[in-house]
């Protein structure tokens, strides 16, 4: 049985490694293995897994990467994640990646897929679109075809067929992964001092850089270890953080928020592994199952259209209630149109529901934490002193 410190050392190592040595080693181990990178927010990882590939989460360069060439491709008023992603590419850090998936998030990631095609013509690059029409017969039909296209693309890449049974097996593993993650989240919401978000977050990020089987084991081990260890409970308030679904904040920011007196009990960081909120059925046609789960049981986030006005923000309000958060910090990357355009609408809904909220912006390489501490700290003060 490992301690949280041991688990964290493994995950931290993966999380910080901008050379992706682990994924490289995975690929080198068996000739012919392929690695497929993906960007936030959602792609069906089970499909990549079923193809025998390693899905590798590429979530920007964080605050340790010096961006030189990436800036040459983006104006100052565009968020950071595409430029650090380009930096990773240009500096050869992704030279072992055989395919790249650019999901439907926003115009920035969308256009990045085109840049990738031009810059790395030898990499299989796919823009992966998810429907914004949630009717099974309309959006569903379209999505099944898109999934089929993705399947064929992967088959082309690996030179082997993906059978329905391959897919079902992978879906099962990922159902397990999602279930365990839901458990970790519930555990943290119950006893946030035992599972600080600065740890949970790193475990989630690391999980997107390893095989799902290993991650499942780590999740189990972590919950065991964390429940056993004696960690002091502090006089902190409970907050949920939303708006951080794409470009990720620096780990220091998460730590600063915790230091300023907040327990983070819910978040939308690296959403991909919680995007589907229920198990994907493993009987019947797996593509239809994936499509149907996406249409009917996926999170609300800024990159998905909400068909009914009255449903906007409902997901957030419900998550706040479920996790027992006392307030919401809506923390968005600077220049993130999806999150920032959503912000007033979500804010209205939270206000209507009587949930206190604040917002601020960050960049993946933010260095100055003082304003963050001050804003989060004041929020904590105010929840502590007056509620």
């Amino acid at each position: 049985m490992s301690s949280t410190a041991e688990i964290m050392a493994r995950c931290q190592g993966l999380f910080e490694d901008l050379n992706y040595s682990d994924a490289r080693a995975w690929k080198a181990k068996v000739p012919g293995r392929k690695v497929v990178g993906f960007l936030p927010v959602y792609v069906p990882l089970e499909m990549v897994h079923a193809a025998g590939c390693l899905p590798l989460g590429i979530f920007g360069g964080g605050d340790q990467l010096e961006v030189i060439h990436g800036d040459a491709y983006y104006q100052s008023y565009i968020c950071r994640i595409p430029r650090s992603t380009i930096e990773l590419g240009v500096t050869g850090r992704l030279d072992f990646v055989d395919g790249m998936l650019f999901p439907f998030v926003c115009d920035v990631i969308r256009n990045l897929s085109g840049i990738w095609k031009m810059m790395f013509p030898n990499v299989w690059t796919k823009f992966f679109d998810t429907p914004q029409n949630f009717d099974s017969s309309i959006g569903g039909t379209y999505y099944v075809h898109e999934l089929q296209e993705l399947r064929e693309g992967l088959e082309n890449l690996t030179g082997r067929k993906i059978t329905d049974d391959d897919l079902r097996r992978s879906i099962k593993l990922y159902n397990e992964n999602r279930r365990l993650i839901r458990e970790v989240y519930a555990f943290r919401a119950r006893e946030p001092w035992r599972a600080p978000t600065s740890e949970v977050y790193v475990i989630m990020r690391a999980g997107l850089m390893m095989e799902v089987e290993e991650h499942n084991q780590i999740l189990r081990d972590y919950m065991d270890a964390a429940a056993r260890e004696d960690r002091p409970q502090r006089d902190n308030v409970r907050v949920a953080i939303y708006g951080s679904f794409c470009e990720q904040p620096p780990l220091n920011l998460i730590k600063s928020v915790e230091m300023a007196g907040c327990y983070v009990v819910d978040d939308d960081y690296s959403l991909v592994n919680r995007f589907l909120t229920e198990d994907v059925p493993t009987d019947g046609d797996p593509l239809a199952a994936l499509a149907e789960t996406y249409l009917k049981h996926s999170v609300e986030t800024s990159c998905k259209y909400v068909p009914k006005e009255e449903d906007k923000g409902k997901f957030h309000v419900e998550s706040v209630r479920k996790s027992g958060a006392e307030g919401v910090i809506y923390a968005t990357p600077s220049f993130c149109d999806p999150a920032l355009l959503d912000r007033p609408m979500i804010a209205h809904r939270l206000t209507e529901a009587g949930i206190p909220h604040i917002n601020f912006k960050y960049a993946e390489n933010s260095g100055q934490m003082q304003p963050i501490r001050e804003q989060a700290g004041t929020f904590a003060d105010s929840l502590k002193l007056w509620s």
Partner: protein, 427 residues
């Protein structure tokens, strides 16, 4: 643009626009229904089938930008919690509501009866109408147009759009308007569209002549006006383009350049440019002047393709009414992937014999801007012609820095000039 000298086509257009604003603002008297919808991927012919008047928030934002009121509207929106970082078209629109929602004709805008969210090429449209929907609480019809990520459309995409048209959009519009859908009416309008489209394409292609009888950017935004807004499919737009063609032909015959806002023909054309990206509206004339003062004419632009890429051969096809609408939506400029955009721009630089590609990068608009530096590099590489990059915004006056833009433009033109003279003998 009050004191500008106007040609007949411009007066025609002005009249069309004001009649449309009249139709919108008088909806309570006339009982007509009003839809809000966007330029790229707009389904004007379809709306006409339901006698619905078309109100385009982007056009309102442009009007407000040119009338120099957008700055205040944007501030108003920011005061209500909108971020400084996001698209200013959206904020100018939301802010206008906050300030009484007055149309350019001075009358209040009525609330729309339906938001037709036929979004293509830009993600922000979706958020924009979610925001409007929150205000107006009116029916919202979403038409999701997939992005051409691989540089072409697929049957799946087309089927998806047609299905949405059949099962979501048309029934929705029938319900809002109480008018039954008549596909033959649609065919007739589409026929009108195709005819007008021929005219527009002819005009834009005259940029190949030297001196160019048109300015395909500053002038171009007028030429595309009727086609991109509420008039595609109407007989008036056919008349407009016939008039425009006559004017252009007259200039060709007399070897004249386009008419500048000062009213003089711009004949002394030293530099020919292809421009990528939308213009700035708040300082539109000042911006244009920076070009013609230096002798730069724009011979082709991408902005004039956001509402449809007709020059690549697409025409609305009355024989396949719904399919043609789908193809139209899929093919708008910003719905094409970056490699395709590079192909198009490089082709323009070559076919229009331009001195280079100038990019006006818009702070607001990720759809256009994210990736433009890569576009510039690629086009430079392919054509061997130098590119230049300036930055401004659509309707936020805070982001128009005349000195900065002028500095870059002058340097760019002097550079082209120096290069032309070969050895450094230039002075």
């Amino acid at each position: 643009m009050s004191e500008a000298i106007k040609e007949k086509s411009m007066l025609l257009q002005k009249d069309m626009i004001s009649r449309n604003y009249e139709a919108i603002t008088s909806k309570h008297e006339t009982g007509r229904k009003v839809a809000s919808t966007f330029v790229p991927g707009n389904l004007n012919e379809l709306l006409m089938c339901f006698d619905i008047v078309n109100n385009l928030p982007e056009i309102n934002a442009i009007q407000n930008g040119m009338r120099k009121v957008s700055g205040n509207y944007i501030l108003e929106a920011e005061k209500h919690g909108h971020s400084e970082d996001v698209c200013t078209y959206v904020k100018a629109d939301i802010g206008m509501m906050g300030k009484g929602n007055i149309a350019p004709n001075g009358k209040p805008f009525p609330n729309p009866d339906v938001l037709l969210l036929s979004y293509t090429g830009c993600y922000t449209f979706m958020k924009w109408f979610e925001l409007l929907r929150e205000q107006y609480k009116c029916p919202t019809l979403m038409l999701h147009v997939p992005y051409e990520g691989d540089g072409h459309s697929t049957k799946n995409m087309r089927d998806y759009i047609v299905k949405q048209l059949k099962e979501v959009v048309i029934p929705g519009l029938e319900q809002v308007s109480g008018v039954k859908f008549d596909i033959d009416r649609l065919r007739q309008y589409l026929k009108n569209s195709a005819k007008a489209e021929d005219g527009l394409v002819w005009c834009l292609e005259q940029g190949k002549i030297k001196p160019s009888p048109i300015d395909a950017y500053f002038g171009g935004v007028y030429y595309i006006g009727p086609m991109f807004t509420a008039f595609r499919g109407t007989p008036e737009s056919i008349v407009y383009y016939e008039e425009l063609m006559k004017e252009v032909q007259a200039r060709i015959d007399n070897k004249l350049g386009p008419v500048t806002p000062d009213g003089t023909p711009f004949n002394d054309q030293k530099y020919r440019l292809v421009v990528e990206g939308p213009p700035n509206w708040t300082n539109f004339r000042e911006f244009w002047k920076m070009f013609y003062d230096e002798g730069a004419v724009v011979v082709a632009s991408s902005y004039t393709k956001v509402g449809g890429m007709y020059d690549l051969g697409f025409r609305h096809d009355p024989d396949h009414p719904l399919e043609t609408l789908a193809d139209y939506c899929l093919g708008c400029y910003t719905n094409r992937n970056l490699p395709t955009r590079v192909d198009i721009l490089a082709k323009y630089v070559e076919e229009y014999e331009a001195d280079g590609l100038l990019i006006n990068s818009i702070k607001s608009c990720n759809s256009f801007s994210a990736g433009q530096l890569m576009i510039m590099k690629e086009v430079e590489k392919r054509t061997g012609k130098p590119g230049a990059f300036i930055e401004s915004d659509l309707v936020d006056p805070r982001y128009f820095s005349a000195a900065n833009i002028k500095n870059r433009l002058e340097s760019y033109f002097q550079m082209i000039e120096q290069k032309r003279r070969g050895t450094g003998k230039a002075a």
